[in-house]
Structures are given as C-alpha cells and as structure tokens.
Amino acid sequence: MAEVSLRHIKKIYPNNEKKKGKKGEPQKKSNLKVTAEGVVAVDDFNLEIADREFVVLVGPSGCGKSTTLRMVAGLEEISGGELLIDGKLVNDVAPKDRDIAMVFQSYALYPHMTVRENMAFPLKLKKVPQDEIDRKVNEAAEILGITEYLERKPKALSGGQRQRVAIGRAIVREPKVLLMDEPLSNLDAKLRNQMRAEIIKLRQRINTTFMYVTHDQTEAMTLGDRIVIMKDGEVQQIGTPQEVFDHPANLFVSGFIGVPQMNYFNAKLVRTGDKYTAELDGKKIEISAEKQARLLAHNVESQDITLGVRPEHIALFGEGKDMFHGTVDVSEMMGSSVHLHLQSLGQNVIVIVQTMDLQGVHHDGIKIGDKIAFTFGGNVVHLFGKDGKNLEF
C-alpha cells in the first residue's frame, strides 16, 4: 500500500584489504568495484516502485540484489542516496518503524513458538487486541492453507509449510511493503512451482507493494510486473518481463533472461545510406524496419557486432541458398521440444525444435550427426556493439 523510491542508493563495505593484504593476495570475490572507501556492493540504484506493484530483483549471486533489499528493510545501512517509503525518507528509520515485512530464504521462524504464536508475534508487539489478532491469524492461515498446523511448532512442518508460515507472519501485519529474499530457493523444484503459483494468487488477494529477490530468471519472469536485472552492484535493465526478453539492454541481460541461453555470433553491421543489413558468414540478414528505424535514430555506423538470436527463434529448413549449415552434436529431449546443439560456423548453436506441430506431425527424426540447415529472420536478431550494449538503445 505504498510507493517506494530508491534514489541513487549506494552501499559500500569499508575496506579491510590492508589486513588481508598481509596474509597474501588481496581476496577479490567478484567484479565489484573497489574504491578508496571500500567495496561498492550497490552503486547508484534508482527505482520508483508504484503502489501495489510487484518488482523482482534478479541477478547472479553477489550482484547486490539481496543487499538492496536489506537496505530497504533497514537491516543494512545505506551508504548513500535516499530511500523513501510512502513519500517519507526512511534512511535512518529502524526496521520496526518502516512498516515493512520480510520473508527470508531460511524462513527464520521462531523455533520455540507454535505457528499461531509465530504469526501473532508481530501483532502482539504492536499491541493489537487479542480478538483481532486471532481473527487476522485465522484469516491469513486460511489464505495460505495452514489452518490445521496452527498449533504445531515449526520443526514439525515441511519446508513448504514453513515458508507458508513465514509468508503468513509477514502478511498478518498488512505491511506497506512486503520484502521477499529468495523465499523459494530452499524448496524442491515441484514445490517451488506450486508456491510460485500461490504467490501469484496471494498477490491478487492482498493490497501491498512487493519487492522480491531471486536468482532464478523463471521466477522473475513469472512473478514480476517489472524486473530489475543487476550485475556487480549495478542495474543493467529495468522493465517488464516481455520488454527485457524482447529488448535486452546488453549482452548480460540477453544471456541471463531466457533458457537456454541466447546464441551469439560475430557478425558485421553494414550501413548503406539509411539501410542496415547484418552480415554473418558472408550471408546477408535483412533487419526489420522497426529495428532499422531505431538504429537510424541513434545514427549507428557500420561496425563489427555481436549478433544474438534466441534458440526458439531459429527455424530448421531443408537446403536453401541463404541457410546456415550445421551438424547435430547433442540432442536433448524435453518432451514438448528438443534442444539441439549444433556445430556450426565454428561454434555451438542451440536450436529449440517443437516435437509436434499443430497438425500433430512429429518431428523426431533428427539424430546426432545429422547435417541440417537453419535460418532466422531479421526481426528476431539482437545487435550488440563491441561494448556489449544493445545498439538499438
């Protein structure tokens, strides 16, 4: 029930390199920037979250997504910038006074309390009358389907049930912002899918703003209204799931979103007048009008580029003039589709082939070692400059 604004948020961990330096090589965990002040874990993070929006922070481990969330929670000090919840500056406000709730990866339930006591605890601290506490706890328990476990201790529950209790403890408070730090990472694959669906349902039922951290791009795509993709403490792109999938801002985003990963080729972008074509292996790829216009708007010149194509956008064909040729190296059967790893153009190319088309015809005749031809259109290619940035941006 609140807007959250993160303006130029920064997190710097003071340097301990001097001490470590004596023992040997300075330990560098990742590609985080190191300045005179210390290690920059989050750098210049800007995000305006609307009321009731579901924002997902996603990125590889160590990218600063959890740190950002913990700064919003107040568990981590903010080194620079402004954090506003509901228009109020809360940089120096204690976690308990921020009117937020948080769900942790490790559930963080109070082991000595029953499920009911766990869920009632934040309300008790707020001095809510007992009958109201009971009503709210029962209501939340019903939403999450944990009514029958209310009198049990957390250790008598399974992982999925524990996580429900943790979510229950967070929602009984009706917080302004609900923070979730990889809540599904400790669950097995099946349960994770199930809980993901439940979070989507939950989201429709309660009026609150969500901030959700995950390293799983599927979770990010399915849950988020908007996704924030981070790497090495810096925001790479902010956008709706469709936007980041269709128009990745740079090589990192294009590779992070989408499974299997995008294929990359070393190619050339050729500009003739106001017309652009991509050249790969001597073959010309016509670029779609929409992309042409954007390239022109940025006045992009001819240059060497990295050309990206998603595996699902590559089509297999018989022989043809403008086809690329490859040999099937590995074939991974997924049921509804087959992932083919081709040796082509001196590299590995992944292609997704549906096993059955709409007419019910099976395409299961491709074997390892087969030579096949493939192609892709100019509307599905992504053009990245030498610095890794998408040339359309």
Binding site: A73, P95, K96, F104, A108, L109, Y110, L125, K126, R169
Partner: protein, 285 residues
C-alpha cells in the same frame, strides 16, 4: 571380511570392555566407600573400609544425626548458605554470560574478540594461581559474604559459560533475529523473547555444570568467607574435625553422602540435556 578379522575385532571389543569396566569401578569405588562407611561405626571405618556394614559394624543413622548436630554450627545453616550461593551464582552466570555471549557472537569488533579470548584464556588459569590475590580483593570489595560471593562466582564461571554460549549463538541463523527486529523488537525484546528461549538447551547444560561446581566448591568459599559466621556444606564437613585432629570418619562420610545426593539426583534428572547442550553448538541445526 573373513572369520579371523571378525574374531580379532571381537577380541579388541572384549578387551576394551574389560579395561573400561575397570576404570568405571575405580571411579565408583570412592563413592561406594562413602556410602558403605556412612552406615558404619567410626571405629570400623579405618580397619574395615570396604566391608559391608553388618552386625556390630552397623551404625544405622547415628552417623547422620551425629554429623548434623556436631559442633556449634547448625547444619541447616550450611545447607541454606550452600543452596543460596549455588542458586544465585548460577542464575547470575546464566543471565549475564548468555547476554554477553550474544553480543560477542553478533557484533564483529576487536573489543568483542578481545573479551572472547580473555574469557577462553581464563579457563586455563588454575584457581590456585589467583586465589590469594582474589581473597584479598574480595575482602577489600566486601565480596566476602554469602550475599555477595555470587559475584565472584560470576567472574570465575564466565569463561566456560561464555565459551559455550558463543558457540551455540553462532549456530543460530541470524535471520531469526533480523525477523524479530522487523517484527518490532528492540534489542532487549529480541533477547528475551527470541534469543533466550532458543538458548534453552545450552542454558540447561551450562546451568548443570555451574551448579555442580558451585555446590561442591570448597576452596573459594573457604578463602573468601568469614568461616566463623558463614559455612557452606564442604566447609561444614571439614569442621567435623575435633580440636586435636581427631576425626569422626563415620559422621564425615554421612554428611558427604548427604551433600552429594542432591547433585546425583540433579545430574541424573538432567543427563539427557547435558549431552544435548554440549552437542548443540557443534552441529548446525
């Protein structure tokens, strides 16, 4: 595995059982001697130490009555002082060291590390090394009464207790405390509502160790307390000696038996928790 190695293994096992059995007997023997001799007439204690008290040796409960009424210092007073000192000292140790350990485990600073290593170091310093300066200090600071001696015990007990508590707190995921702070707890509330209940297994094991130590301790109260006014049970037993060094061994044994009964009962009742508590810090739950 063939038969030979199997039988070799069995032989080793048998040998080990015998050796451990003998060690057990050696440990139990003094306790057994105390039990037997507390029911024996004084004159037979020295001559027939390990004989079962039958016939003319059997003294019934006369040793117990004699021990409790001997001298001009009432036995119940010693029991009361012992009980008071033990309970208050243990309570102080549990409360303060668990709080301190929580702080040491959670705040990563040089100060905390120093305190922690000082505490660990204090465990290896033998009491005899510091006892004279200690008794002098205790006198100066007026810590030489049963009402104040728990503070001295707090100091001596802190080393082991902090060591054990720190080990356990480190195994508690910090997210639980973070969740508490988001749910609306300040530090004190977090400690009493969340951390304290989670420390229960370690509380019990530290409590048992401290209770057994304080209850049985002889040297510290002997050095610190004014013996004419305040006696604990071990000191009381020591004063069963007559003026010319004559000792009523039967009565002494009887009182020793009385004094160890509570400890044994207590230990048996809490045995399960001791093992649990000691292991609790070791394995991440």
């Amino acid at each position: 595995m063939n038969k030979n190695t199997l039988s070799a293994e069995n032989r080793t096992k048998t040998l080990l059982s015998v050796v451990l059995g003998i060690i057990c007997v050696i440990y139990v023997l003094p306790v057994l001697a105390v039990v037997i001799n507390s029911f024996k007439l004084n004159t037979y204690v020295k001559s027939d130490t390990f004989a079962i008290p039958t016939g003319e040796m059997y003294a019934g409960f006369s040793n117990f009555i004699k021990g409790m009424t001997f001298g001009n210092y009432p036995f119940w007073k010693s029991v009361a002082f012992s009980a008071f000192i033990t309970i208050v000292s243990t309570a102080l140790i549990l409360l303060f060291t668990s709080m301190a350990a929580w702080y040491i485990a959670r705040v990563n600073s040089k100060f905390c590390k120093t305190i922690y290593y000082l505490c660990v170091f204090s465990m290896v310093v033998p009491f005899q090394m510091v006892m004279y300066t200690l008794s002098k200090t205790a006198d100066t600071l007026k810590l030489n009464t049963p009402w104040t001696i728990p503070i001295v015990y707090l100091g001596f007990g802190a080393g082991l207790a902090i060591f054990m508590f720190v080990g356990f707190v480190k195994s508690i995921p910090i997210e639980i405390e973070e969740a508490a702070s988001i749910d609306g707890c300040g530090p004190l509330r977090t400690y009493f509502s969340v951390v304290f209940p989670m420390l229960k297994p370690t509380m019990i094991s530290v409590g048992i160790l401290e209770i057994m130590w304080v209850w049985n301790d002889y040297l510290l109260p002997y050095l610190v307390l004014d013996i004419n006014e305040y006696r604990t049970i071990p000191i009381h037993i020591q004063y069963l000696k007559g003026s010319y060094g004559t000792v009523d061994l039967g009565a002494t044994m009887a009182l020793i038996l009385l004094s160890i009964i509570p400890v044994i009962i207590f230990y048996l009742a809490c045995q399960k928790h001791i093992i649990k508590g000691v292991a609790a810090g070791a394995v991440k739950g």
